[in-house]
Subunit: 100 residues, 2 copies
Amino acid sequence: MILELADIRIKPGENAAFEKAIAQGVETVIREAKGFEGYKVNRSIESPDRYLLQIFWTTLEDHTVGFRQSEAFGRWRAIVGPFFAGPPHVEHFELVCKSA
Amino acid sequence: MILELADIRIKPGENAAFEKAIAQGVETVIREAKGFEGYKVNRSIESPDRYLLQIFWTTLEDHTVGFRQSEAFGRWRAIVGPFFAGPPHVEHFELVCKSA
């Protein structure tokens, strides 16, 4: 399993609307993608305009090829993109270890 | 529950030793701290010297006061600090939503 981490900054003051939009975008668009295994959204305490979107994919290509190159990616960005203060930083991670 | 995210860059080529050290440091030092609820370590695929350490705490103060101001913090840093390429960026997050 692969973790996609999108580090997002939104326009100030739009937290409530963004939080509704990102949940809706994941639940209605990304959830349907092949290899989607789950997600989590966190808001920073020190920087309330910063969000982390974690998406768990079966393989790296399920995200970078399967989802990114599908028409669904455009639908997703139409939902959340208007809130972005700039392009999100996206990086992928492997699990090293975790608590039992 | 609060998420502490430590964004860590290590010196190149020390991945195996660092991964052993960070697991040992969490399991032997941080696990004993009041309010510790779990952890996860991820390694970046695009930037293999970059690691994310996620620690789940009951409250923000369990980390910022209880752990950070205890002698245990020094023991933790003695285990993992030698691998750091620079000071880690540490930020705290609240959960907004996640998959069921």
